[in-house]
Symmetry: C2
Subunit: 266 residues, 2 copies
């Protein structure tokens, strides 16, 4: 394929419109966010949510199938220079392709229903890389959805989108939630509520992981607030067999969620 | 505590000597590396390996116990401005404290001996954050050691040190190894060799995880080279229950190593 025109003007209005999506306030007012890199763009295209695609000639040639899928959906495609894409990049190497994507409504009421087996709640998770990684783990482990507390990082932060590697398009994610309400909703459909934290019962042996479970994970530095810990059925700890003080949030969530997935799918 | 003098000169010779340790070649010729932040400095101090400590007055006041431990070991302590520390920082927020640390010899012959239960081998892992995270997971899971192939990132890269959160000081880590030799050494002491990769037997059910195990993990983008896969006893896959294509290296290693640790410690 060959494109006719290459946008080189880093001050073009459409570039400014994409650039303002780096800020949460503009994402919310515009109802749009940025998906960086071919993998995220492919997933956004599959979800039918791409509004506009910016990419280099090189990416245009290399990822013809993504371009075609987006073209067929009626989205606008702009071939541009790397310098243009860098105007609205949260990373130094956006791999020559960034999409402007339509946000969707988060509807938490659908998450908890009879038969829901595994849901992840994040409370006060501030690091976007951590949040995206946990969403990816939740997706891999077959979770029915993810709930993010109102004091967590913005789901549509470009770094969350990137580190989720497409998973934000795969499973229902509720944002801006009060954890107490989430816990009540889980209990109403018969789920147990487990919090991963230090000083709990062992993940191995202390708890029936085959039961439908809402897992609560907290901020890496502060852990889970006491008032949330008081609401859960059990506080569960990952045993540390060596000298490390702890695991980070992403790896801890992987150990917990895969322990549940293994027990539930056995 | 109060320090008498604060170093403000970003061009001081001792600053230049620390700064050159950002480059692998100088780390190797000087036999020194940088540990950033209080946690890594504390661990380096416990290991008795700090040669010099740079910290702000604020960090000096806040982390008196670390300063005291390092002072007692005879290392030089320099109170300086944030601007000085930024001269040799790999991160934007080194939290006011960076230590110059003595490297140690890596002796792989001690790793594999009768009774060795769990060892992690990294082949061609290039991302320093991933490498450090896997080392932290290996430590937490009680691994006896970690082996890094010659084409992996430098263990003493400041980002590896930081993301290991002290674990590089906790367990033996061999660098510059040929995987074929590592695999032979593991087999000689009766360990099985498992490679984590797509298209293998399931982690749950396909393999006896209670056996002494050398786990091989590869580069996130390329996986494990075919010639290495041919040497292992089994290729093992983490089941994906949802729509994610895969897990990242750190979370995948957490799932595999904790599955082994659970089986071995049951």
């Amino acid at each position: 394929m060959q494109s006719s025109e290459v946008l080189t003007n880093v001050r073009a209005p459409k570039v400014a419109r994409a650039r303002r999506l780096l800020k949460r306030g503009f994402r919310e007012s515009d109802g749009l966010f940025l998906a960086e890199g071919p993998q995220a763009c492919r997933e956004a295209a599959s979800a039918g949510k791409v509004k506009e695609l910016f990419l280099t000639q090189e990416a245009f040639d290399r990822y013809a199938e993504i371009v075609l899928a987006i073209e067929e959906s009626g989205a606008e495609i702009t071939v541009c220079t790397e310098a243009v894409i860098e105007q609205f990049s949260s990373t130094v190497s956006p791999q020559g392709m960034t999409a402007v994507v339509q946000m969707w409504d988060q509807n938490p009421s659908e998450l908890f229903k009879p038969g829901t087996k595994l849901v992840v709640a994040l409370t006060a998770v501030r690091d976007p890389g951590n949040a995206g990684s946990v969403i990816r783990v939740a997706d891999a482990a077959g979770a029915n959805g993810v709930v993010m507390s109102s004091d967590s990082v913005d789901l549509f932060n470009p770094k969350v989108v990137r580190s989720s590697v497409g998973s934000i398009f795969h499973l229902p994610i509720s944002v801006g939630q009060e954890l107490a309400e989430t816990i009540s909703a889980a209990r109403e459909v018969g789920m147990q509520v487990l919090a991963a934290d230090a000083n709990g019962v062992s993940l191995y042996g202390g708890v029936d992981l085959a039961k439908p479970t809402l897992w609560v994970f907290g901020n890496e530095a502060w852990g889970i607030p006491t008032e949330v810990l008081e609401l859960v059925d059990q506080v569960v700890s990952i045993p540390i067999y060596g000298q490390a003080e702890s695991l980070n949030l992403a790896t801890a969530s992987a150990v917990c969620l895969y322990a549940s997935a293994q027990a539930q799918n056995a």
